[in-house]
Amino acid sequence: MTTVLKRCLRGTMQTQLHSVCCPKVFSLEQKRHIRWKFSWDENHLFYLWKTYNISPTGIKDTMLRSEREGFINEQRYIPAKALQRGPDLAAADMILNFNGRVKFNNDDVWYKTYEKGTSPLPQSFRPDLKLEAVDLADSNWMLTGMDHLHGCEHVVFVSLARCKYVTDWFIAQLVLHCPNLKYLDVSGCPEITDATMEMAYKFRHLQILNITDCQGIKQGEVFSVFLEDLLPELIIIGVDSLSKMELPLHEYEQQNSRFLNLGMSASIPEQIVGLRSETSEKSTVVNCKLNMSDSVELKVEPLKTESVC
């Protein structure tokens, strides 16, 4: 029956075949579903034992969870696809499926899915096309989606603005896959924290880092001072000025670092304290690497900051 149907539909678009006919390979689960039999095994007992929360918040939580799992499933990295079409085109395909935009190195056009759902990308491997820019602003990009950038070393522009699922682990994957990044935009992401700033120095060619409206970044000003040291060409957008720090760095660290406070009750014997104190006496209240003055505001060379327009 299915082979007859396939012969009739031959010549039409390949993608529609899968939705009409059954796929060739069945897993055990699919076989069970098709025959409408359900056998209890140890994994199915979890459905019986789970406590189902049927309050409105519980139902909303369950729906959000299944939505998130759906995204993770859709963005799974399939190595066979990357082998067939090349990593750049496979990544671009996945990005376009999720309302993103891409740019290649041959021209200056931002590619986007057409309204009918078809894709403007070439279907076969093109060795001259390299992915250069990725724009995933306002999308539902997941951590599994970052696996697609494996092999795309020519990417220089990544924008993850206002993506609600973006965390620091995304930036760790970017460090791994795209070390030649020049522009990184994570503005408006609520889950980005200071760990992103710690990792930003690993992009040796980074020129612009946009962290406007990131509520998780608490010490952006101090990090930008250190990043300026390590990456001289860097411009950090979204950091206003150092005078906004409410606490001096020393007190902020004492309040927030558990490891600095673990040994506070231990008393160091006098002969140990006196030994190495020749030039470290000038470590004043604000223990920063640069030369400090006595006032609370750090007087350093002017930061190359710009307020976002």
Binding site: D168, W169, A195, F259, L260, L262, G263, I268, E278, S280
Partner: protein, 483 residues
Amino acid sequence: MLQAFARRAPSISVRARCLCTKPPTSPGPPEREYVQPSTEEKSALKILKDEFRPLFTGEAVGVEKAVPRRTDVLIIGGGLVGTAAAYFLKAHGEMFDVTIVERDYGYTRASTMLSCGGVRHQFTIPENVQMSMFTTEFLKHYKEHLTVLGQDPPHVDFHHQGYLFLAPENRAQLLLDCVKMQRAQGAKTVILSKAQLAEKYPWMNLDGIECASYGTEGEGWFDPWQLVHALKGKNIQLGVRYCQGEVVKFRYDSVPLYTSGGIAEKKRILGVDVDHPDGKRYGCDAAVIINSAGPWAGEVARMAGIGVDVFPELPVEPRKRYVYTVHCPDGPTLDCPFLIDTSGAYIRREGLGGNYICGASPSEEAEPSIANLDVDYEFYQEVVWPSIAHRVPAFNNSKLKCAWAGYYDYNTVDQNLIIGSHPEYRNFLFANGMSGHGVQQGLAIGRALFEYIYYSKYKTIDLSMFDFARFAERRPILEQAIV
């Protein structure tokens, strides 16, 4: 003649004898009221009656005893390993009745809270690599796993800095083989040559270094206190019972065993006796008992008779290790990884104010005493500071700020994990002996214990080589990359 022997003259005076009539009692442990564990079966009607009794007596909720009289899984020790095991046992559903017995809710001596919290994939045994990778995977999605409905999502500050293992020339080949094995397992470690090291870390003195291995993704450090806190919150939502108390005794059941040599007695662990701070001693029956007491796992095992009645004993003992906080104004800032020197000393950055955390493992002969958690500053002067000042010359100008000490649950035989059931007492499970890697492997161990209890085999990571029987079979598994 007989009368003379019978009537013996007193050798001490009468007054002294009056004082001595009551023999002096030694100050033993105070008498505790014993609460029996439940041994009778409850009928369905009785259970229903217990459910509705609060309605009739006017209480808002049924009053439970401090320590339950019976439970399915009893976890001794509420550190990271115990909490993770309870989480994985309950995560899929309310299949098990899980109780955690912890004697110190302040965690003043718990190894989890006193550790540096580093996670590294660079081990020499593939299963260790897989366990650390499991921890990294869990921490990637910890917000989805551990958010309690109606509360703020938890924080685990993971710093993605990576570990840097330095190797001299004679160990360079070993390092290359290890990195190859780690990459085969999926860890993203790379080898850095001397030239690359000089370019990436100009503040390091590369005297005697041939190459180094660096973890590019998933390695770093985090705060284990926050992870345990988040796990505990989720556990309480899932219905894990937390009891404060100290396990003092194990109770057994004897079954006659008919052998060719006669009738022997086979002992089976029924449950434990727990001393609660309210002065009572509760008996608790349990189907499965998990030993996750950390450094004191050897004591708990001896209480259960392992090492006393059945041999071999559990070779886990506490070993004290020091961690020192140092301030150095000119030290490396953002690009300082978790540096592990050839001499075994380690150092990592803490915060941005020029503070660093360092330490080293003492040699076998110079093991410090475990009586208390006092810090030995001479060790810093003689062993730690020379190594790190030689490797990072900026530390010649540094100042020791403070220090603390913690216990490793040290496996004296091979410094690796002991997991699985005891060959004789099949319902007594071990999760001990991580020797300093408990924080990295705790989540994987919790998951493995859940799979062992539910599926009777390991599914995610095969940890059957770390069983207890290897001590009787003289099959130690040596890990060479111990820090």
